[in-house]
């Protein structure tokens, strides 16, 4: 038997709603779709998020990459993936007949729940919260009428809500940067690795000194750290990732991170500030 049941049924819908899917925010939010509820056309992944502290579900590499970019941006404070447009049914006045047809399962009459791949919450300099919605799709899929019709419904929905909405294809996603973020993503919280902050504060300072004063490559600094301070293979690399993830040091994230580069390519950030602000279009 197939794992996935594509048939829209009232029972399934009610179960989803009962489970609280699509409701809440931050750690409480549950995506409408998760990696179990639908067959992925690409590669699924589940990532524990920095902003939300919960596990995010992604159904393709593009979704995952876009997520990493959001994680990196200091302006972003909440990421809700696979956000269902639940109250769409209360605003059918925004739809013409053609579009309204897209909302029901033709066979069963069960409502289809449309989703935006991301609903992102950002905080601007004045501390005001704003939202924007995104749908991630391969550019070639835009050629399909059914896809465009669906996005027109979604566009109208967000337009009415007054929330900027836009489409993102793989061309808009900086894959190099996303890969770099992915590489260091898990090192943000050292407690995940069994280290407490106080315990390694000294070691971290030492690694930073090695990196600043380092003559050789980043790799050399890490190796010296491992042999002189920790005595553990790999701890130096983890600490480096942590420093990058915590933005205590800075490296050009738009080029593939190469540990053979000179340690001089690393910058020390003194004051942690919001140096990354997402430009919101749409």
């Amino acid at each position: 038997m197939s794992k996935f049941n594509y048939d829209a049924s009232d029972a399934k819908l009610q179960r989803f709603i009962k489970e609280g899917r699509g409701q809440g925010r931050g750690a409480e939010y549950q995506p409408w779709l998760n990696v179990h509820s639908i067959a992925s056309r690409g590669r699924v992944s589940r990532v524990s998020g920095w902003k939300t502290g919960r596990v995010h579900h992604f159904l393709s590499d593009n979704e995952t990459r876009y997520f990493y970019l959001c994680e990196w941006s200091d302006a972003v404070i909440d990421i809700r993936e696979h956000y269902p447009l639940m109250d769409l049914y209360e605003m059918t006045d925004i739809l013409d007949d053609d579009l309204a047809k897209k909302l029901m399962d033709r066979k069963t009459g069960t409502p289809h729940i449309l989703t935006s791949t991301f609903l992102i919450t950002v905080k601007n300099d004045e501390g005001q919260e704003r939202h924007f919605a995104r749908n991630i799709k391969e550019a070639r899929d835009f050629e399909k009428n059914s896809v465009i019709e669906r996005y027109e419904v979604i566009r109208r929905y967000w337009h009415k809500k007054g929330i900027p909405w836009g489409l993102v294809s793989s061309s808009e996603i900086n894959a190099v940067r996303a890969k770099n973020i992915e590489w260091l993503h898990a090192a943000r919280r050292l407690s995940d690795w069994g280290y407490s902050d106080q315990q390694i504060a000294g070691e971290i300072r030492f690694l930073m000194e090695l990196l600043i004063g380092g003559q050789g490559s980043i790799k050399n600094a890490i190796e010296r750290f491992d042999s002189q301070v920790s005595g553990e293979q790999g701890k130096g690399l983890l600490m480096l990732k942590h420093l990058l993830a915590a933005k205590q040091i800075k490296i050009d994230m738009d080029k593939p991170i190469d540990l053979n580069h000179s340690a001089k390519s690393i910058e020390i950030v003194d004051n942690k500030g919001s140096d990354t602000v997402a430009k919101i279009s749409g």
Binding site: W72, G162, G166, L167, I173, V277, K279, S281
Partner: protein, 549 residues
């Protein structure tokens, strides 16, 4: 009785020779080793099978009783027809052996003849030996195969001969062999069944040697089969489901029939052919083919209501009621069950079983004509056309439905049992739902009271509370309900009107469908059109490069 284990085969009975009363059978070791010829009383004794029944069992829990009722499938009531059949089979086997006596010279010459046949790849007819056989035609579900099986089970299948009258020898006697006609009706399939059955009995490897040898055609296998049958002193070949021949590939039926005829005639091997009325035409052909030899046919018709057999059958089975309030077999009940089953034993047994199960699940615990009718309506849909044909008495109509398999029993029991479970479940469900309603009502009342304490007029409080509980059913907590309702009172919850006031007009010029269409007309891809219209978002994009982008 002494038994010997055949390597890789089954158990064989060590031959014990008995004095024969019939002079024709004297001096033939194959016949003398058979069990004595049974009297009528002995046949009844040997064939009957009644389920274990104890009145106390009626008080067992329903789920145990379902299992007890299941035993009725093994119910076998001996009827005059069965006694007749046993008599015929007993005669057939012995008559077949009369002309095949291992200590007679013609036994050896038959073997030599068989070898020559194999070399030639053709069986030469030997007309001196008269063959005998039996055909049984009957509607599905009358217990043809069951009867044959029960009769054959009274006879040892293999007898091992090692010494007869001081002469040492080594021979098996396979008294009978049961085969089923392959569904495709092919001769090869039947011959392979023959090999496989014998291999299992005797531990031989005929299937590997001949059955899997694709170089041997079906025609050249026939003398081999005949010789093997001779060699193991096969006494009776019983071929069931013979109606499969009629749907066989072209030529299959005729060839197979001539094969049986050849087998009977050349080595005098008696054959019993069993089939449903679908095979009627075949049998008439077969009879013509074997014209001249006095044969018996048994037409196994559904029982008539007035027949003593039916009375015997239905009264015998009626004693096995596991319901708490057993009833006498009234004329009405008898008529109902007869009408429903048309006198077909298998259907009658199942109706009786189903009725008991329904009587138990429904709680009436007694079999009534209404229950029987209900069961028939619900579970005998599949066989309905067949029964209608029987009622009309149209034999051709019956033949068309000859192969219908009678009502599946497992599904019925499962369905009845789930009915029982569902009954309980629904009751519990209704109960909890009622409780929930009561609770919700109490919650509303309490919330209204609290709101009035907060200074909300009672009418408005009631209105707000019911609005909150219907709009946000997830809120079960009274505090939350009060809070939300109070917010409503203060106008904190914005009504939809508020948003619709600021609702931007639908900007049809920005319709994605139009944009993409217009783009296409100008030779742009959908992506390009959307990008030009500003719908492709470039946050965190490569274009911006810098962090501030």
């Amino acid at each position: 009785m002494e038994w010997i284990k055949i390597p890789n085969g089954t158990l064989a009975q060590v031959a014990q020779y008995s004095q024969q009363i019939v002079s024709q059978y004297e001096g033939n070791m194959l016949i003398e080793a058979l069990p004595p010829i049974m009297s009528k009383e002995e046949v009844v004794q040997a064939l009957s099978s009644y389920p274990h029944f104890d009145v106390e069992e009626r008080y067992a829990d329903s789920h145990y009783r379902f299992h007890m009722i299941q035993q009725l499938l093994g119910y076998f009531q001996v009827m005059p027809l069965h006694i007749d059949l046993e008599n015929r089979i007993s005669r057939l086997i012995r008559q077949g052996y009369v002309n095949r006596n291992p200590i007679q010279p013609n036994y050896a010459s038959q073997m030599v003849q068989g070898y020559a046949d194999i070399q030639r790849g053709q069986i030469r007819q030997n007309i001196q030996i008269s063959s005998s056989g039996l055909t049984i035609v009957g509607v599905s579900g009358m217990g043809k195969s069951t009867a044959i099986n029960r009769i054959l089970s009274t006879i040892p299948q293999i007898i091992s001969h090692s010494e007869y009258n001081g002469v040492e020898l080594s021979a098996y006697e396979v008294v009978f062999l049961r085969l089923e006609c392959p569904p495709d009706g092919s001769i090869r399939g039947l011959i392979n069944n023959f090999f496989v059955e014998l291999d299992q009995l005797l531990g031989t490897n005929y299937m590997d040697r001949f059955g899997k040898n694709t170089k041997l055609s079906a025609a050249s296998l026939m003398p081999i089969v005949a010789q093997i049958a001779r060699g193991c002193n096969l006494g009776l070949l019983c071929v069931d489901e013979i109606q499969n021949l009629s749907v066989a590939k072209s030529g299959g039926a005729e060839k197979m029939l001539s094969f049986f005829v050849t087998l009977s005639n050349s080595i005098g091997l008696p054959t019993i052919l069993i089939g449903t009325p679908t095979a009627q035409s075949l049998f008439s052909d077969f009879r013509i083919a074997r014209r001249g030899s006095g044969q018996g046919d048994v037409a196994w018709l559904p029982m008539k209501k007035s027949e003593p057999s039916w009375r015997l059958f239905i009264e015998g089975i009626w004693d096995h009621q596991w319901v708490r309030n057993p009833t006498e077999l009234t004329t009405e009940l008898n008529d109902t069950i007869y009408e429903a089953s048309c006198g077909i034993t298998d259907i009658a047994v199942k109706i009786f079983m189903f009725s008991q199960i329904r009587a138990i699940t429904s709680g009436t615990e007694t079999i009534t004509p209404q229950i029987i009718k209900g069961v028939v309506k619900d579970s005998l849909k599949l066989v309905e056309p067949m029964l209608n044909a029987l009622r009309s008495g149209n034999l051709n109509g019956i033949a068309r439905f000859g192969d219908i398999n009678i009502a599946p029993i497992d599904g019925f029991i499962a369905a009845e049992q789930s009915k029982l479970d569902l009954g309980n479940l629904l009751q519990t469900f209704q109960k909890t739902q009622k409780e929930q309603q009561v609770q919700a009502e109490r919650l509303k009342q309490d919330a209204v009271v609290r709101l009035t304490l907060l200074g909300v007029p009672e009418k408005e409080a009631k209105h707000n509370v019911s609005k909150i509980t219907s709009d946000m059913p997830q809120i079960q907590n009274i505090q939350e309900v009060v809070q939300e309702a109070y917010k409503l009172h203060l106008g904190l919850i914005e009504d939809k009107q508020a948003t619709s006031k600021t609702q931007p007009q639908i900007d049809d010029e920005r319709d994605l469908r139009k944009l993409v269409k217009a783009g296409k007309e100008n030779g742009f891809t959908a992506y390009q059109a959307l990008k030009d219209a500003g719908y492709i978002a470039s946050d965190f994009s490569i274009d911006t490069g810098s962090e501030l982008g």
